[in-house]
């Protein structure tokens, strides 16, 4: 699904990633943990196509050179990043945004675009599953949303777009325990043999609810250690310095 080979990234001459290697196979869940400034969000940004980094190395996504895909093409091909800080977009109704995006993705995959009624039916079901108030759909996108509402809205997008490769960038931070369970449930519902997840997190907490196949520790722009889900528990006990 995703193969990262010797990835380095600099921003304004400061090295952030220093030869990162990672392979995510279809159906696998990988967690990436690491202290502040270790390069976790940079990795997420680069995968989604954010400009401004000096990059070397290779990333293959579904056997294609990811760097040759435009930002929106990555989305069309099933790459989805749940933002750490989802943007507030004034004047754009959440439901209108969701429909426009979903239809752009469907269209690029040769599927029929949904009309307003078909869309509404799907989005209402998905919103209910995530315990998102229907009224949220009429509000301006993320404007005045609480931290939890913003994160749940990201998960709603994930469940609507049904992506192949999901990257969750600290989706758990700022969530209360109920919201955390809902988010985890959203992920677990989507989990299947063809879909992979890369979960970036500071805390082991989320991994109580989503059991990863692998846990990687990112330090100084490299994967410092890889293990199974027990690694996260160990980390919680001893901290990054002892790893």
């Amino acid at each position: 699904m995703l193969k990262i080979n010797n990835l380095t990234a600099k921003i304004e001459n400061k090295s952030i990633l220093n030869g990162l290697n990672l392979e995510v196979k279809p159906g696998e869940i990988h967690a990436i943990m690491g202290p502040n400034g270790s390069g976790k969000s940079t990795l997420a940004n680069i995968l989604s196509g954010k400009k401004g980094y000096e990059i070397s190395g290779e990333i293959n996504y579904q056997d294609k050179d990811l760097f040759k895909l435009a930002i929106e093409e990555r989305a069309h091909k099933g790459l989805f990043l749940a933002f750490q800080y989802p943007l507030e977009i004034p004047g754009v109704r959440t439901s209108n945004f969701l429909k426009t995006s979903l239809n752009a993705i469907r269209k690029s995959n040769g599927k029929k675009e949904l009309d307003a009624l078909e869309f509404l039916k799907i989005v209402k079901t998905k919103a209910a599953e995530l315990k998102i108030d229907e009224k949220t759909l009429d509000r301006q996108l993320n404007v005045g949303f609480s931290g939890g509402e913003k994160k749940k809205n990201e998960i709603l997008q994930m469940s609507l777009f049904e992506p192949k490769m999901v990257i969750l960038d600290e989706t758990d931070s700022g969530l209360d325990i109920d919201a955390l369970k809902i988010v985890a449930n959203g992920v677990n519902t989507l989990r299947n043999n063809g879909r992979s997840f890369l979960i970036i997190t500071h805390y082991q907490r989320l991994l109580d609810y989503i059991k990863p196949d692998f846990v990687h520790i990112l330090m100084n722009g490299k994967i410092a250690k890889t293990g199974c889900s027990d690694l996260a528990l160990e980390l919680e006990k001893v901290g990054y310095n002892k790893i």
Binding site: S48, G49, K50, K51, A70, I71, E72, R74, A75, H76, F80, L81, F83, P86, L87, I89, P90, G91, V92, F97, T100, S101, L102, A104, I105, S108, Q140, Q157, F161
Partner: protein, 419 residues
Amino acid sequence: MIEELKNTFESFNKKISKKDTIAKIRSDNFEKFSQLGFPSKKLEDWKFSDFNQIISNKFKNININLEQQNKFKFNNYIKEFEHNKIVFLNGFYNNHSFNYENEEKILFDNLKTGPAYEPQGTNSLNLLNNAFFTDGLLLYVKNGYQCKKPLVIYNVFNTKNDNNFFNQKIIINVEENSKLDLIIYSINLNSVPIFLNTSNFFLVEKYGLLKLFCINELNNNDLNYNLSQVNVTENGIFENFILSCSSAFFKNDIQCILKEKHSSGFINGAILAQDNQHHEIKTNIEHIGQNTKSYQKIKSVLNKNSKAIFQGKIYVDSNAQKTDGYQLSKAIILDQNSEFDSKPELEIYADDVKCSHGSTSGSLDEDAIFYLMTRGLSRFKARKLLIKGFLVDAIETITNEEIKKYFLNKLENKINELR
């Protein structure tokens, strides 16, 4: 150009003025106009719009139209909502229908044989209008009558020769406890460039409500100046919305006097200027009565070498205690060659007032574009969605749901045409 206009005026005045007294007043207006000339940027009110230069670049000469056509083909009537209508063709009254109203409650006449207006003030385009106006509308909504459906004034132009200069007056009196939703819709069906110069007077009496919506679909060589002078009396409400998306030059100049206590004025607008267009909204709200309220929100988007201007003034008289005035202008500039000028002004002589204003301009938020692109939208689509979101905020101020929807559609179509 003014010399040539003088000859045009003299033969025009002979034809149109049936009485010497009227001819004299028109002539006085023209005299005063010719002393002042077309407004240039030397004038404070025109400092961002050198109209003299604009008109000189666009027109070698302007000729008045006196030809009245009876029948014409027009397919652009608004289908989205039921409405009453009055149709003007090339500046002359053509037909009307008040199918939804009690016709006894609405008094109206055209101004073909109407009075003349004494020269007042130094607004040279207004003087020019007084000298040259050919027709217009005088309308009263009688005491206590609430119009059931909006009235649309269709101002249609299909001139084929170079008679391209139109001057019109719309004078409306919304009497006590009465209500009118009015749309002034100007449209040029032909490609002959026109200069449309209108002077409107509105009076909103006690507890009256006038909602005025202005939209124009003129062409990219046309010039349109609209002057609206509005007086609002006790507890009266004036609401104005301007959609400014077409014409080479489009300036709406609104002078609203909140004369008596508890009167209010709302002036909102969306400007989408592109392809060398020059659009301006200029407001002057005078709070004279106590407990008066004004609110203004203008959103502008500028693309491809265009210019937009908002000049907004709130004046609070020393008697106008408990005034509540608010003004906000926001602009997004999409290319380096476009220019937005904003001149907010507060002039306050009372001490117990609440007045605020704000003005911002900038470019589209790149992070927001990125976010939308990661959701599968092309850069082009993401930009359009953000532009729409930005302008819709102004449309949201419209308090008539049907009209709001109609304007939203018009705006969406314009945004979809953006390149």
